[in-house]
């Protein structure tokens, strides 16, 4: 099992959510102080460099128009880290392919970062969460179609070697594609895709041999979706299948229970960020059947319980893992058992007002006292010798 450090690079110093209609999408950027922003960007990047030193991998993502995430261009952060780190794998999870204007541009950026890092890139693609359609002006009824057309075009650009190809699809028209550079890894960087409830989508991810990741969901839901992936996975070796299954909890490791609880409450801030209801469910993002339930008042996306309950509940569900190193290890093990196993542990170890000193402490405790046990207990016992460094 590999562990990945992650933060959404938040700007937590925004007005109290109770005083504004929404923290995401429409909070005026007059509330952004560029001097503080500059400090935050550099601090978060320093923490990623620390992850590299500590032997953790690095995960990045991208959001727009929100104080909850200042990383508006994951390829930019990945490029910085490709140059400044030396060991860590760097996973973008993910490029919002549905909302990006040009999949070929995405293909080029990934190829460039892969070369600069000498093959340490994992390239993820996401549909983008519902509220992202407002920033990108993507038609919410078309996000899935755009995602797969974009991925197909990107993978073709990475792998086609014999000069120019053309493409006249539903969303993109290209006349003569021939990207320079190609990716460093062959045939291309490992592809990761996230999902939460669309089983047909998960099965497609499995059929293509991509890694499937879920974030911050109760373990019962995660079990269901991981089972759907395993049903259709193309790898014969179950350890190889497991290597392609990823989960992200919030993680806070403290020297004492009290310290961990302080950290846990701070990272749990992430789940409380306010998004106005019309941004959470634009029409057509979820199927008609889900919206029928919404009209009846029985559906609300990531359950409200997860959003509003305390850290004990979040811990029970596997959404938040916190405590002393021993306790964190036990929670990882319990979650592993609950969901039928997984191979990649993505960890949101920084969120909200968890400051630099606290983040460094939590990361370091995890890396030194939890990770070695995880590596030993959940090591990949791959049938094929010499299977990837990952």
């Amino acid at each position: 099992m590999y562990a990945w450090h992650f933060t959404e690079m938040p700007y937590p110093n925004h007005p109290d959510p109770d005083t504004v209609p929404s923290v995401r999408v429409s909070l005026p950027n007059k509330h952004f102080d560029p001097k503080l922003g500059a400090d935050l960007y550099n601090r978060y990047l320093d923490e990623h460099l620390l992850a590299d030193e500590l032997g953790l991998n690095i995960m990045l993502n991208e959001h727009h128009q929100t104080a909850t995430c200042l990383d508006v261009a994951a390829p930019l952060s990945a490029a910085i880290l490709a140059r400044q780190t030396s060991k860590a794998r760097i996973c973008i999870l993910g490029n919002p392919m549905s909302n990006r204007a040009d999949p070929i541009r995405v293909a080029e950026e990934m190829a460039m970062i892969d070369c600069i890092s000498r093959g340490r890139l994992d390239a993820g693609f996401v549909r983008g969460v519902p509220y992202e359609v407002f920033a990108a002006n993507t038609n919410p009824t078309q996000t899935l179609e755009r995602l797969w057309e974009g991925i197909d075009l990107c993978v073709k650009a990475w792998t086609h070697r014999e000069g120019c190809f053309n493409f006249e699809g539903k969303f993109w028209h290209k006349r003569s594609v021939n990207i320079w550079p190609t990716p460093y890894q062959q045939p291309h960087p490992p592809v990761w895709i996230t999902g939460s409830s669309d089983k047909e989508n998960i099965r497609e991810v499995a059929r293509r041999g991509f890694t499937f990741a879920m974030f911050l969901q109760p373990y019962e839901k995660v079990r269901e979706m991981f089972d759907a992936y395993r049903e259709c996975a193309i790898y014969d070796d179950p350890e190889e299948v497991r290597r392609h299954i990823a989960y992200m909890p919030l993680v806070a490791t403290g020297e004492t229970e009290e310290e961990a609880e302080v950290y846990a409450k701070k990272v749990a801030w992430y789940l409380s960020a306010k998004t106005a209801p019309q941004f959470r469910n634009p029409p057509g993002y979820v199927p008609v059947s889900f919206n029928v339930n919404a009209l009846k008042g029985t559906y609300s996306g990531r359950t409200d319980a997860v959003r509003t309950r305390g850290i004990e509940y979040l811990k029970e569900q596997g959404v938040l893992m916190y405590g002393t190193p021993d306790q964190v290890f036990e929670q990882v093990r319990a979650f592993y058992d609950h969901v039928g196993g997984f191979g990649q542990l993505l960890m949101m170890q920084q969120a909200g007002h968890l400051d630099h000193e606290e983040t460094v402490k939590s990361m370091t405790l995890f890396a030194k006292e939890v990770y070695p046990r995880i590596r030993e207990e959940f090591d990949f016992k791959l049938a094929k010798k010499g299977a990837a460094a990952q």
Binding site: N137, P140, Q278, L295
Partner: protein, 268 residues
């Protein structure tokens, strides 16, 4: 006297689309293009009209029970399909009455081919852009909260209250699917066809444009500009009505529409 309660609903095949068509009343044909929420079809206005006309209500692709193939992407696509429907149904000398999105469709149809259309009435239609790139001509109904949109759409917001929790699932499916189709076709460019304003001069049949004075989504200024591009079009305002003036002020609405339709009956 015609039994206004008698109605038929059938599916009519147009290319690879199943179009749901309801007919009520009897007499000269009045093709009614429903609003995107499906409210007009359920309103007393239809029964009122069915006393003097055969009201024919074809639901556009993606709305009501009409199917929605992937190739249908714009109002332009839909207008051609609805013209195909007029051909298929053999409708002649139709009065076409369109509400909101239905009004946009009616206008698109009339710019292309009026051979089966004798007169046109549009009620608070969407469909054109009036201002410049930085202007918000049409309020962004997907960006605002449900309460804000309701306040813009209705002169008295309470008139827009709908209790979905008491509706059967089949009806809720139509509601959810209508919303999805509306977004699919109208997301970008937002709620308009950049080409339509340049084509409205082609409408060569008598046209009435009716507007609710309190319409906060598309203002009376927008409505006047819309009517102003259609040769000879009349523009009439219904006081104390919003985006659906026929729902909030049915009597005043029928007064305004009445004169126009009387001409239609005389001509028939």
């Amino acid at each position: 006297m015609t039994d206004t309660k008698s109605e038929t609903i059938e599916m009519v095949q147009i290319q690879d689309i199943g179009i749901e068509v309801e007919r009520r009343g009897g007499g000269a044909p009045l093709v009614l293009l429903n609003d995107e929420e499906g409210l007009t079809r359920e309103s007393p206005v239809v029964d009122e009209l069915a006393k003097s006309f055969e009201v024919i209500i074809p639901e556009p692709p993606g709305f009501g029970a009409s199917s929605r193939p992937g190739w249908i992407e714009t109002m332009d696509d839909i207008a051609y399909v609805m013209l195909d429907f007029l051909d298929e149904a053999g409708i002649e000398d139709a009065t076409v009455l369109g509400f909101s999105l239905g009004g946009w469709i009616a206008a698109e149809m009339a710019t292309k081919n009026t051979s089966r259309i004798s007169r046109l009435a549009l009620v608070d239609p969407y469909g054109i852009k009036v201002g410049g790139p930085w202007d918000r001509d049409i309020q962004d109904i997907w960006f605002l909260t449900k309460e804000e949109v309701q306040a813009l759409k209705y002169a008295d917001p309470a008139n827009g209250d709908i209790d979905y929790t008491v509706m059967p699932d089949e009806k809720l499916e139509v509601v959810a699917r209508n919303r999805e189709s509306f977004a699919r076709f109208c997301w970008q460019p937002y709620m308009h066809n950049p080409k339509l304003k340049r084509r409205l001069h082609r409408i060569d049949v008598p046209t009435l444009v009716i507007w609710g004075a309190a319409d906060g989504v598309v203002s009376t200024g927008y409505g006047k500009a819309f009517a102003g591009t259609i040769p000879g079009a009349r523009f009439e305002v219904v006081e104390d009505g919003g985006h659906f003036p026929h729902l909030e002020q049915p009597a005043a609405f029928m007064d305004v529409l009445g004169g126009f339709l009387a001409e239609a009956q005389q001509a028939a």
